[in-house]
C-alpha cells in the first residue's frame, strides 16, 4: 500500500514537466553560442527536457545560470525558512480561524456571524501583496515594533506570518462555520444537551471532533495557497525562502532555479495532500486508507 502511495505521488508530480520543456525552449536567448552550449540550450527541446528529467531523477536540479551555484543545495538551504514561515502562519491561522468559525456558527443569524462573514470575505478579497505593504507600513515603519524586512529570529518572522495568516484564517473560519453549523443541527447534540452535559464538553467532544474533517481538508488544500502567498510575502519582506528564490529566478530568467522551485513546490503540495488524506484516518477511523476517496 505504501508503494502505491509513493507511485501515486510521483505520478502527480511528474507531469509538471510539460512546463519544463517549454521553459527549456525559451532558454535559448540571443546570446553567444558559447553560453548556449555551456547551458546546453543548443540541443533540441526534447533532448533538453529529457536531460533535465534525467538530472532530476538523480536528485540534481542543475546549476543557476547566474550564480552557477547548485540549485538543489540552494533550495535545501532556503526551504526550512519557507517551512518556518508557513508553519508559523498556520500556528496563527488555525486557532484564530477555528475560533471565529465556531463563534459565528454558534450564533448563526446574529451579529457575530454577520460581522465575521463580512470580515472573512474582506480578508479573502485583500490581495496579499497589498496587506503585506500596509502591515509593514503600520507595524514596522510607523510603530517601529518589528523590523520591516530580513531573515532571522522571531521578530523578523511575525509580520510575514501574520500576512500569510490573514486569508488562511478567513478560509478556515468559513469552512469551520459551515461544518460546525451542520453538526449543531444533529439530533445527538440535542441529546447531549438534554443529558445535561456542560456546553464546553459538548463543543469540544461532540461538535469539534465531528466537524474536524472538512477543516483538516481545507488546511491541507490551503497549503498550496501558503506556497502561493509565500512568493509574494517573502519578496516583500525579504524573507530568504523558496518564494523569494523563485521570484529572483523569474526576474533574471534563471530557468534552472524557476524549474527547481516549481518542482519542489508541487512535490510539497502533493505530499501535504497525502498527509491530509492519511490524517483523515486518524481523525475518523471510519475512513479507510485503501478505499480511495474519489
Amino acid at each position: 500500500m505504501g508503494v502505491t502511495i509513493v507511485v501515486f505521488a510521483l505520478l502527480k508530480t511528474l507531469p509538471g514537466d510539460p512546463a519544463i520543456s517549454l521553459v527549456g525552449e525559451r532558454a535559448t536567448p540571443e546570446t553567444i553560442a558559447k553560453i548556449r552550449t555551456s547551458i546546453g540550450a543548443d540541443k533540441g527541446i526534447v533532448e533538453q527536457y529529457f536531460g533535465y528529467l534525467k538530472l532530476l531523477m538523480n536528485g540534481d536540479f542543475g546549476r543557476s545560470y547566474f550564480t552557477n551555484r547548485d540549485v538543489g543545495s540552494d533550495i535545501y538551504a532556503k526551504f526550512p525558512n519557507t517551512l518556518k514561515l508557513a508553519l508559523s502562519a498556520m500556528l496563527i491561522a488555525i486557532p484564530a480561524g477555528i475560533l471565529i468559525g465556531f463563534l459565528s456558527a454558534r450564533n448563526s443569524q446574529g451579529i457575530i456571524a454577520k460581522t465575521s462573514d463580512t470580515l472573512t470575505l474582506a480578508c479573502l478579497s485583500m490581495p496579499v501583496f497589498w496587506s503585506a505593504i500596509l502591515i509593514m507600513l503600520i507595524f514596522s515603519l510607523k510603530l517601529k515594533l518589528f523590523p520591516p524586512s530580513g531573515t532571522g529570529n522571531l521578530n523578523f518572522l511575525i509580520l510575514p506570518a501574520l500576512v500569510l495568516a490573514i486569508p488562511a484564517s478567513a478560509t478556515i473560519a468559513r469552512v469551520t462555520k459551515t461544518s460546525v453549523a451542520d453538526i449543531l443541527r444533529m439530533p445527538y447534540i440535542t441529546t447531549a444537551k438534554a443529558k445535561g452535559l456542560k456546553a464546553f464538553k459538548i463543543n469540544m467532544v461532540h461538535v469539534l471532533k465531528n466537524a474536524i474533517i472538512p477543516i483538516v481538508t481545507i488546511i491541507g488544500l490551503d497549503f498550496g495557497s501558503y506556497l502561493n502567498g509565500a512568493v509574494v510575502t517573502e519578496t516583500i519582506f525579504g524573507w530568504d525562502g523558496i518564494g523569494r528564490f523563485i521570484m529572483e529566478g523569474i526576474l533574471k530568467r534563471d530557468y534552472p532555479v524557476i524549474m527547481g522551485c516549481i518542482v519542489v513546490g508541487t512535490a510539497v503540495f502533493v505530499v501535504v495532500n497525502l498527509i491530509t488524506d492519511i490524517a483523515y484516518h486518524f481523525l475518523d477511523p471510519r475512513i479507510k486508507l485503501h478505499a480511495k476517496d474519489r
Binding site: M126, L137, G224, V231, V232, R253, G265, F269
Partner: protein, 268 residues
C-alpha cells in the same frame, strides 16, 4: 444577502463604466506625465494624489478598472469554455474517455495554481494576453469537474432516452439536449470564480508578469510604488483599495450566487 449581492454588482458595473468612460475623457489621461506636480498628496485637483511622474492616481486607478475586470472576465470566459467542453465530453461519453480526461483535470487541480500561472507567464512574453492565458490554464479544471458532475445527472433523465429512441445521434444529444442545460451552471460558476481571477491577475501584474508599464493595472501600480510607501502612502493605498473593494464585491456576488444555486462545496 440578495440585496448586498445586488449592491455589489452595481458597484462593479459602476467601476467598469467609469473606467471605460474615463478613457474617452481628455483631461483624464492616465499616461499624462506632469513633472511639475510629482508626488502630490491627495488634494482638490488630484483626489488620490499623483505618482512619481506626476500622473494623476485617480485616473490611473479608474483606467485600471477596465484592465482588471476585463482580463478577469475574459479569462473566466475562456476557462468556462474549456472546462465546459472537457466536462460535457467526459460526462457524456463516460468510461475510458471520462477516466482519462478527469485524471488530467485532477492533475491540473493538484498544482499550486499561482506557481503554474507564474510558470506560464515566464515562458510567454509578458502582457495582457499572457495573463489571460495563464489564468485560463489554471482556472478551467474546476469548471470541467463541476460540469461533468452535472452532465452525469442530466444524462439519466428520461428525455435523453426518448431523444435516443427517436434516433438522435450522440453529437445531437450532446449539443442540443445536454449542453444547453449546463450553460446556466457555467455562468453561475463564472460569477463565483471572478473574485479569484481579479486577485490572481493583480498578483501576476504585481510580480511584473502582467501588463507592462506604463499600462495602469492596479497590481503594477502597487508594485511600482511600494518603495514610496512611507513617504507617499497614497500611491499604494488607493490602487489597493480599489482592488480590494472590487474583489470584495465580486466575492459578494459569488456568495449570493452560491447560496441561490446551493453550490455548497467551497472549493468549487
Amino acid at each position: 444577502m440578495p440585496k448586498t449581492g445586488k449592491a455589489a454588482l452595481v458597484f462593479i458595473i459602476a467601476v467598469f463604466l467609469v473606467s471605460i468612460i474615463s478613457s474617452g475623457l481628455r483631461h483624464a489621461d492616465p499616461y499624462r506625465i506632469d513633472l511639475d506636480s510629482i508626488k502630490q498628496s491627495p488634494n482638490f485637483s488630484h483626489p488620490f494624489g499623483t505618482d512619481t511622474k506626476g500622473r494623476d492616481i485617480f485616473w490611473r486607478v479608474a483606467a485600471g478598472g477596465k484592465f482588471s475586470i476585463g482580463i478577469a472576465l475574459i479569462a473566466a470566459f475562456i476557462s468556462a469554455a474549456i472546462g465546459f467542453s472537457f466536462g460535457i465530453t467526459a460526462g457524456y461519453f463516460g468510461g475510458k474517455i471520462d477516466a482519462a480526461l478527469m485524471a488530467f483535470v485532477d492533475f491540473m487541480l493538484s498544482f499550486p495554481s499561482l506557481l503554474l500561472a507564474i510558470a506560464i507567464s515566464v515562458v510567454m512574453p509578458p502582457g495582457i494576453y499572457t495573463v489571460m492565458i495563464a489564468l485560463s490554464a489554471v482556472g478551467w479544471a474546476s469548471f470541467a469537474r463541476l460540469i461533468r458532475g452535472h452532465v452525469l445527472t442530466v444524462k439519466t433523465m428520461p428525455y435523453i432516452d426518448s431523444a435516443r429512441a427517436v434516433g438522435c445521434g450522440d453529437l445531437r444529444i450532446l449539443f442540443l439536449h445536454i449542453a444547453p442545460l449546463c450553460i446556466p451552471l457555467s455562468l453561475v460558476m463564472m460569477g463565483i470564480k471572478l473574485g479569484g481571477f481579479i486577485l490572481a491577475e493583480a498578483t501576476l501584474s504585481f510580480l511584473g508578469l502582467g501588463a507592462q508599464p506604463p499600462t495602469p493595472t492596479w497590481g503594477s501600480m502597487i508594485s511600482a510604488h511600494r518603495g514610496y510607501v512611507l513617504t507617499a502612502p497614497w500611491m499604494v493605498l488607493f490602487p489597493g483599495l480599489a482592488l480590494t473593494l472590487t474583489a470584495f464585491c465580486f466575492n459578494l456576488v459569488g456568495e449570493t450566487l452560491r447560496e441561490k444555486f446551493e453550490l455548497k462545496d467551497s472549493r468549487l
